[in-house]
Symmetry: C2
Subunit: 333 residues, 2 copies
């Protein structure tokens, strides 16, 4: 059964998007636009485009994982502004030959994300097209003194990161190596790639408490993303290699396979952890807020005068090759 | 010069998206998400996906027209909820071989739309991909008693439409017939297709005044869209053929070419006029609000008990073939 067989309206009926109940004051799918009651807080708005063959492959990513992850990645951006997600829109283009089951699984994954991340699918668009393209837009609110941008850091600020780093990159490597994901550590690493856990409670708590001066989510890799914060804040940064938080699963698998764990933690993308800078006098407050949000954070460096990110190992600078970020149009490295 | 030559970051620099000034309390492109101060009104959110070869052709649509129209179509949806647009996000996928000039023209068209429609480009995403895909998301607010949905009409309500109908469909026909657009009426009709004028002032005034019970913008064609309103309102509707507002340009060109003007007005899509239902006792108020918004409206029918839309000519029912809406996945008619 393909999209050609059921048609656009048939698809929308099958997905049940028009039959859902919404809170009072909301307008869900089926009208000209979605509506929500006036919020009391600053708005946060972010959009992402996922293109088959560029960001995902239907052969290696299940539609359910893709749907859930597409929402996760966007709500992570909302968390990185100190906000919490409220609602999202989905625009999907797909060839007429696309199996209906694939689309149903995709929306099934997004329904899981609605529950997991506490936000509602309120609208969107569907269309034909030569390739599968998914565009997600998330609307959130930022309670507290206002959104936490990348640019508010100052030299001397502590740099913190939540959770553990590099798991997703290693998980992707395992999945691409032929899908031999059998042991418990391997399954953990693969799930960190396929089902990232955006740090929503921590992001909202940091935003509400006004404890961080700058924040970003780690999507391009720690080095890159700390570089973004430092540049936007008009300063440099140093990272302490021995303080990088590594999962026991990552340590075990990299040891067995002879891979450098620190390289993965520094450069591996798609961690969706929160990276933030705060004044040293707020150190106790940071850990209290993190504990309240049920998320571990670790101090991994600091902002300094100057430009660029310097990695230190036991206090000594180490050479770390300067990488450009993933560039969608440039020739592949 | 193609996207491959300048790269993603080079493109963003050339577009100057990071150099723009925003009002206090706003965060524009370049951070994890865009932010706006807390609004006092209900939020309106809508998204649209435009795929090359499905919704536009780079050979016949200029990038500037495409950029402007993509915003116009979405702000029209916000107006159809009784809202006014505030901000928008743009997600663009394009092959690396895409000329940079095309993308710059596209964003140039969106910059024109910002000025014309009073809303700001606040963020988005760019990506590679096998085909050009543009996804627009507009955020607006609905002042007044709340958003005007499609479903609030009741039998006995007057049905109104703004402006004139069928111009865009005829303009498209002229453009597709080889681009022979020379005379002033032909240029007017083509511009109605390429540069639609969403009825922002009228939509916001209707929303603020609470004068309409149901509203939609005419994108699929009058018959289709009145059908949507009637169905959502749980009733039927009648349309008076001799009352349909036609431009003098449409009348002149259809007469010269032997085309049925009423058919174009009933079925031609992409008018982006507002179609709304209001209680008869509000008739004077409706015309006063429309005059205040500087937009002509005409009473063209009424909601009735029953189902479906009946076209009447001088009070007598006329057969009008029942068309399905444009279906993106189904076999072409």
């Amino acid at each position: 059964l393909t999209l050609k067989d059921v048609g656009e309206f048939g698809l929308l009926r099958r997905l049940g998007l028009y039959d859902r109940a919404f809170p009072s004051g909301w307008v869900g799918p089926g009208d000209d636009a979605a509506c929500m009651p006036p919020p009391a807080y600053s708005l946060v708005l972010t959009s992402d485009l996922l293109v088959e063959g560029v960001h995902f492959r239907s052969t290696t990513t299940s539609a359910r994982d893709l749907g859930c992850k597409a929402v996760a990645v966007n709500v992570s951006d909302v968390a990185a502004m100190g906000g919490r997600p409220l609602a999202f829109l989905v625009a999907l283009a797909a060839p007429a030959e696309t199996p209906v089951g694939w689309v149903e699984e995709l929306y099934g994954g997004m329904a899981e994300a609605e529950k997991a991340f506490g936000c509602l699918l309120v609208g969107g668009d569907t269309s034909g097209g030569p390739t599968r393209v998914l565009s997600l837009t998330v609307l959130g609110v930022a309670p507290g003194p206002g959104p936490v941008t990348r640019g508010g850091g100052r030299p001397g600020d502590d740099v913190y990161v939540s959770g553990t780093l590099g798991d997703s990159a290693l998980g992707l490597r395992l999945l691409e190596a032929g899908g031999v994901v059998r042991t418990a550590p391997e399954r953990f690493l693969a799930s960190r790639h396929l089902r990232p856990s955006p740090r929503l409670a921590l992001g909202a708590a940091i935003g509400a408490g006004g404890v961080a001066r700058a924040m970003i989510d780690v999507s391009d890799g720690l080095l890159q993303d700390l570089g973004h914060v430092a540049r936007a804040s008009g300063c440099g940064a140093e990272l302490w290699a021995e303080r990088l938080p590594l999962s026991s699963e990552l340590v075990a698998v990299t040891a067995a396979e002879g891979i450098d764990p620190v390289g993965l933690a520094l450069e591996g993308g798609e961690d969706y952890e929160l990276l933030f800078a705060a004044e040293p006098l707020r150190r106790r407050e940071v850990f209290r807020v993190a504990q309240g949000a049920g998320t571990r954070v670790r101090r991994v460096g600091r902002l300094v005068e100057g430009v660029g990110v310097q990695v230190l190992a036991r206090g000594l600078p180490v050479a770390w090759r300067d990488l450009r970020g993933f560039d969608h149009f440039a020739r592949r490295r």
